[in-house]
Symmetry: C2
Subunit: 222 residues, 2 copies
């Protein structure tokens, strides 16, 4: 796979990179040849995850505490839990200024009836991020990719809906999606249309619960 | 195409059946061999649409004012505009009791920046319908099927996400989806997960605006 010009020489930091989805994304980007830094509140967990990923892929993956991880990154992927979302971004506001911040977080909770959408006063996780990070370009993407599928060898069979107000940043993120075999980034509207892309995870979880199959989606007609 | 047992002998009424999406759905169901009644606030518009559909398809399609249209129907498809949604359902509360109500309505508006999701106090159009129709089984489906594609001969290439709390009603609606060639109904969660299915239309409109292509989606992995 050839890396798009927009990504050449750009370092990707993954916040929440020691968690399942973050770790899986880190693995895919490292395999694609991008410089990757795994970031976590705990520098030790980040270093351990990075060492495992380096051993598994043969690529060099760095690990660092969150602040250090984002310092030299051009693109920062946010793959933390919803509970950590606002606090982590608030703390990194200055470090993230001028960067592309790729928000993967879904404001979804689970109860006895299954998954459901939480109310977010800003409208969506991505809009909350943009509100907390006025000097960053926030793009929503990578919302429903299962960590265990990402953290393995196989091709995916899914599109990734990409939402954002900054067309240049959106196109960079679509190039980032394209580094994962079988994934395709599709522009799907402005940041104010992020909520339903995030929330669709609840529906896909319901599909999986009913069918026992791992569900993704493809946009048809393109 | 064989009609599923759950649909045999059942009459489908389409509220908003003189509008583009309702008319297209009416056409497809009539072609599939289901008894169809086109309903509209205006009995004259309904009768005119029904006559056109009968002529175009060779099937017998009836037209009637909204109250008359739903009286003998087992399944009622709501394809009115968002502006008419609450008022029309409020007025038909008694007539719709005991029936399956299939809500296709998307609470989406357009401004200079494109489509955007409206705030619905009940959570979604489908939840608003269930709240207005406590004695009906509300199911959300058929949200993003373009009227002009429906109101023609060709096969579709899209899944239809179906949400609802009543599993029996959900399965009937999935059978109804299956009467349209190329469409597949996929259970996608409870009524509280309807918002994002309705709102996804905004994203598909953005895809279309950016690419110039008519976009649908397929759930993968099933």
């Amino acid at each position: 796979m050839t890396i798009a010009d927009s990504l050449v020489g750009r370092t990707v930091a993954i916040l929440g990179g020691a968690g399942p989805e973050g770790r899986g994304l880190a693995r895919r980007f490292a395999v694609a040849g991008l410089p990757v830094v795994v970031g976590s509140r705990s520098a030790e967990r980040a270093a351990a995850a990075a060492a495992e990923l380096s051993a598994a892929t043969g690529a060099e993956v760095r690990g660092a505490g969150a602040t250090d991880a984002v310092r030299d990154a051009d693109l920062v992927v946010v793959a933390v839990s919803w509970d950590d979302h606002a606090g982590m971004l608030h703390d990194l506001r200055d470090q993230l200024a001028g960067k592309i911040v790729v928000d993967t977080v879904c404001p979804i909770a689970l109860d006895d009836h299954g998954p459901y959408l939480l109310h977010v006063w800003e409208g969506s996780a991505a809009q909350q991020a943009q509100s907390l990070l006025p000097a960053s370009s926030v793009v929503g993407a990578f919302h429903h990719l299962p960590g265990d599928v990402l953290d393995a060898e196989g091709e995916l069979d899914t599109d990734v809906l990409v939402v954002g107000d900054d067309d240049t940043a959106v196109d960079v993120v679509r190039d980032l999606v394209a580094t994962i075999p079988g994934a395709r980034g599709v522009y799907a509207g402005r940041l104010r249309s992020a909520l339903q892309v995030e929330a669709l995870w609840a529906n896909l979880l319901s599909v999986e619960e009913r069918t026992g199959r791992r569900a993704g989606y493809r946009v048809t007609g393109l």
